[in-house]
């Protein structure tokens, strides 16, 4: 009987811990930064898709008129497939993305943007990149996350508190992306040999493919294995408060390099909101102190 009571107490304590882990009130500026970064990445993807909208989503385009797809997927383009209709949907999504970024009607804007992402992913699966997947998953998590009153244009509200669950979902998704990709890459011959960066540099994914990349020497394995190491470590580093800034810097270096040297800037942009989901009160305070310091040192150096 005593053992059962002890077990019951232990379980209750664990459950309380889980509840705290998911529902603890946190600085809502984290949600605001995720929302704004997501609006920016969604806008970039919208700009990439706008010229292709009739080719990929209209009944005159590559996939012809819609035929009854599996009804198990949300797909707006099943019902709207005329050329004018598709353009109108895109125009509406642009308005929703801007509203989301500025903080107008956040929930409804986020839901509409999410519906667009999941619809175009279902309609034109052949023409998707990894960044579409990242943005689609983020759009869902933004749509179900608490609405943040911080950093909105309608009113300059004080940063409030909001339950943490939306940030936890984004953090979990980021960890899955990196760890699954490492799991899939690690057995490959070229990743093991340390020859991936040189191949990337001469491929269609490079911004300026150049034969010089074939001769990277010792840098090739260092950069190839370094990529795997960063992808493995970043989720852990971001999770721990004491190493969060190291994780942010490593992620910035990884995705910044990919965006500059490769044609994959949309992927780098679409990963940004998930990184911001790790920020906490202390990070915002530290950032504000840094900005103040820079501002003060700037005003000190002004000639009198």
């Amino acid at each position: 009987m005593f053992a059962l009571t002890l077990l019951g107490r232990w379980c209750a304590l664990r459950l309380k811990g889980v509840e705290h882990w998911l529902m603890e009130p946190v600085d809502s500026r984290a949600y605001a930064s995720v929302r704004i970064a997501f609006a920016l990445s969604a806008l970039s993807i919208w700009l990439d898709l706008w010229p292709l909208r009739l080719e990929l989503f209209s009944n005159a385009g590559n996939f012809g008129p819609p035929i009854p797809q599996e009804v198990t997927r949300l797909n707006l383009f099943q019902w709207v497939s005329g050329t004018t209709g598709v353009s109108l949907v895109f125009a509406g999504v642009l308005v929703a993305i801007v509203c989301l970024g500025l903080g107008f009607g956040q929930r409804i804007s986020a839901l509409f943007v999410y519906l667009w992402f999941t619809s175009y992913s279902a309609a034109a699966a052949l023409a998707l990149g990894g960044f579409d997947t990242v943005a689609r998953l983020t759009s869902f998590l933004v749509a179900v996350s608490p609405v943040s009153s911080a950093w909105t244009l309608p009113r300059k509200a004080e940063a409030g508190r909001a339950p943490r669950y939306g940030l936890r979902l984004l953090q979990w998704q980021l960890a899955l992306i990196y760890w699954i990709t490492v799991w899939l890459k690690a057995p490959d011959h070229f990743w093991r040999q340390g020859e991936v960066v040189s191949h990337f540099g001469v491929s269609m994914f490079a911004r300026n493919p150049n034969p010089a990349f074939a001769d990277l020497g010792v840098w090739d394995p260092l950069l190839t294995w370094g990529t795997l190491l960063i992808e493995t470590l970043v989720p852990v580093l971001l999770w721990k408060r004491s190493t969060r800034w190291v994780g942010l810097c490593l992620g910035l270096v990884l995705h910044g390099t990919i965006a500059v040297l490769g044609k994959l800037e949309l992927f780098s942009l679409s990963m940004l909101p998930m990184y911001l989901a790790f920020l906490e009160d202390s990070d915002f305070e530290r950032f504000a102190r840094l900005v103040n310091l820079l501002r003060n040192s700037g005003s000190d150096s002004q000639p009198v």
Binding site: P51, N62, G64, L74, L126, L137, I177, D188, F205
Partner: protein
């Protein structure tokens, strides 16, 4: 509603919320399990309806090996009823050349080396091409196939020797009949 009932309702809502969040985490984790492993079939069956409906399907197999091409360009080859073969640019509407966008590179590669999961979309694309060519020629082709002209990256050792990155290679998708 008295205060203790209100507290209980709030607590219940909180726990339902926790349950949903944990379910989502488990579902997206299972969505990443490779199909074909012993456990995955049952687990996938349990979460697939949720994953599909809410658009949570995901694959992180980008760059699981090195990129193999410097460029990929697609074209359509149609066999007309008189037996002659004609080439067309691969993009609709209008059978125009593909714009310079990595999305089209992925699309052509997926049609030619079609994975099972893309078959439904590939068939739709090829049917639309059959109709468009039929409208242009006034007669529906007997069959069509997508071909891709690539610049295939040579072994690094050879690139170091002469500075030539790639060599031309063409790949053909299987021919599909155009339905009458």
């Amino acid at each position: 509603m008295n205060s203790s009932t209100a507290t209980r309702v709030a607590l219940a809502k909180r726990w339902i919320g926790c349950g949903l969040v944990l379910f989502h985490m488990v579902a997206v984790s299972i969505a990443n399990l490779a199909e074909g492993t012993k456990l995955s079939a049952q687990l996938h069956r349990a979460v697939d309806p949720y994953v599909r409906f809410f658009g949570q399907w995901q694959e992180w197999d980008m760059f699981t090996t090195v990129p193999l091409y410097l460029s990929i360009e697609g074209r359509v080859v149609a066999k007309l009823p008189d037996g002659s073969e004609h080439e067309y640019p691969p993009v609709l509407p209008g059978l125009v050349p593909a714009p310079d966008n990595l999305r089209y590179v992925s699309m052509f590669a997926r049609v030619v080396w079609a994975k099972r999961s893309f078959r439904w979309h590939s068939e739709r694309y090829l049917s639309a091409l059959c109709r468009a060519i039929g409208t242009r020629e006034g007669v529906k082709p007997k069959s069509i196939r997508l071909e891709i002209d690539t610049q295939t990256i040579r072994p690094l050792k050879q690139i170091r020797q002469d500075g030539e990155i790639a060599e031309a290679r063409t790949f053909k998708a299987e021919e599909v009949a155009c339905s009458p």
